[in-house]
Amino acid sequence: MAQILVKAVDATHADPTKDRRGCYKRGMPVVVMPDSHTWGREECLPKFVIIKIPGVSVDRVMKYLEQEREGTADAEGFYPIYRRRLWKFRFDDMPTAALKKLRDNGELTIKVGDYAGDYDYTWLQVKTYIRNLKTNEDETANL
């Protein structure tokens, strides 16, 4: 029962390291909420889009919020962030119809499993547009 709030525009920083570590880029998931969640008035276009995945638990989707971390801990035992998010939706590579729907409505509904309601695409179709930025490979796992 999850919805993912995804950044729709790039944030940028003049320092390239900070830009990579700190700035959310278009397609990066920000937070995951349950189906029943209602969003605030600025959690929408132009800054965000929402990917709805009805019937899938929040816990199963949380992995897309993971940050990419460096391999060595600092003096405090904290593993510094290498990139703000490990995963990214490749919106700009999606079919034109999907992109248009995101631009017009700010959301896509994805069917997973036995979900019988209205949807735009299936997880099978969408997962190949979710890239692991560390391995540079698209998602293969099912929800």
């Binding site: 709030l5 950044k7 944030a11 940028t12 920083h13 003049a14 900070k18 830009d19 570590r21 700190g22 700035c23 959310y24 920000v30 937070v31 909420m33 969640h37 209602t38 969003w39 605030g40 008035r41 600025e42 959690e43 800054k47 965000f48 949380m62 919020l65 993971e66 940050q67 971390r69 600092d74 003096a75 405090e76 035992g77 904290f78 593993y79 510094p80 962030i81 703000r84």
Partner: protein, 339 residues
């Protein structure tokens, strides 16, 4: 002069909500506050329906200055701030459970003020409010950092930045309450730490200026070195640093998980703090609840909570007693006149 741009964060999406999590606010607002924005970015946190904010927050990817800063807070003029303990009900709080995050709030930018926020971390060996090294302009004030006792929170509040001020906070149930183990001078004033393995962890470089802190129910109250300016700290063993240290205290709180001093049993800490009204590094006058501690020359209490307000119940009682005696005497006098 920079403009304050205030956004409302409310997990319950009450009237006027801009973002339903602090994390979404940060993602939307991150950018250069010093350029054309010329802005103070303010996240005003509410909780109108009792729901906790459950998304860990990282502050990163911003450009700030001492006058164009980030302020995350609960407005004391509203009703959403904690009351000296990790809250329930309609009080804003960040509760992070699980995931790969190492913190509830992680700050990687300078010029950030976190005021009146309650955080709880359920993730094993993770921090409450954490800062990366070498940031400047960092203030954490009137916050609550709490482990839930189920998993071990590592550090409640991390204080490792040059000039960082940690004042009037309450930390409970962590491996280390306040972690100051770094070389840069930082200021840890009037905090209360309870139920931790180590209360306040200093550093061999003696960088931490600890004043008026109250540490109770720990294995070791204070550990490693503290600056010679440290003063009026109290602890439940003999490790309190600096001048006027109070050792082996016994204190009494109104509850097992708060910093509110009880009406009795606290003679060792009430009125025994240094007055920091004119402190050169960070002058202030209120306690964790915003209660006035009194200006220059006033007698302050050790810890985050100032008993002056509660002491009002004692003084009026004395006054009431005198008033009653006076009334009784007058009644007797009138009675005798009629007699």
């Amino acid at each position: 002069m920079a403009t304050e741009v205030i956004k409302i964060i409310d997990p319950d999406n009450g009237s006027g909500t801009d973002y339903t999590s602090l994390s979404a606010w940060e993602a939307a607002q991150q950018g250069d506050l010093t350029g054309v924005r010329d802005e103070i970015a303010v996240a005003k946190c509410r909780c109108t329906g009792g729901t906790a904010d459950t998304a860990a927050v990282t502050i990163n990817g911003w450009t700030t200055s001492s006058t164009q800063y980030i302020k995350i807070w609960t407005d004391p003029a509203e009703s959403y701030r904690h009351a000296g303990s990790y809250p329930t009900g309609n009080k804003y709080r960040l509760y992070v459970n699980g995931g790969a995050t190492g913190y509830v709030i992680r700050v990687e930018e300078s010029d950030v003020k976190v005021i009146g926020i309650a955080v709880r971390n359920h993730t094993y060996a993770a921090n409450g409010v954490s800062f990366s090294y070498s940031l400047t302009g960092i203030l954490i004030e009137k916050c609550v950092a709490s482990g839930d006792g189920v998993t071990a929170m590592s550090n409640g509040i991390v204080s490792v930045c040059p000039g960082q001020v940690v004042v009037n906070n309450f930390v409970e149930t962590a491996t280390t309450g306040i972690y100051c183990a770094y070389t840069d001078a930082n200021y840890v004033y009037n905090n209360t730490v309870r139920n931790c393995t180590t209360g306040i962890l200093g550093h061999w470089s003696n960088s931490c200026r600890a004043k008026n802190n109250l540490v109770d129910s720990t294995t070791t109250a204070y550990s490693n070195g503290f600056h010679a300016d440290s003063t009026n700290n109290a602890g439940d063993d003999d490790t309190a640093p600096g001048s006027n240290a109070i050792y082996n205290i016994t204190v009494s709180f109104t509850g097992a998980n708060n910093c509110i001093l009880a009406a009795t049993g606290n003679d060792e800490v009430i009125g025994d703090a240094a007055n920091l009204y004119n402190d050169a590094a960070y002058a202030f006058q209120t306690d964790i609840l915003g209660t006035d501690r009194g200006g220059s020359g006033a007698s302050w209490d050790i810890g985050a909570y100032e008993y002056v307000a509660a002491a009002g119940t004692r003084v009026p009682f004395r006054r009431l007693n005198i008033l009653l005696r006076l009334c009784l005497s007058m009644f007797n006098l009138i009675w005798r006149c009629f007699k």
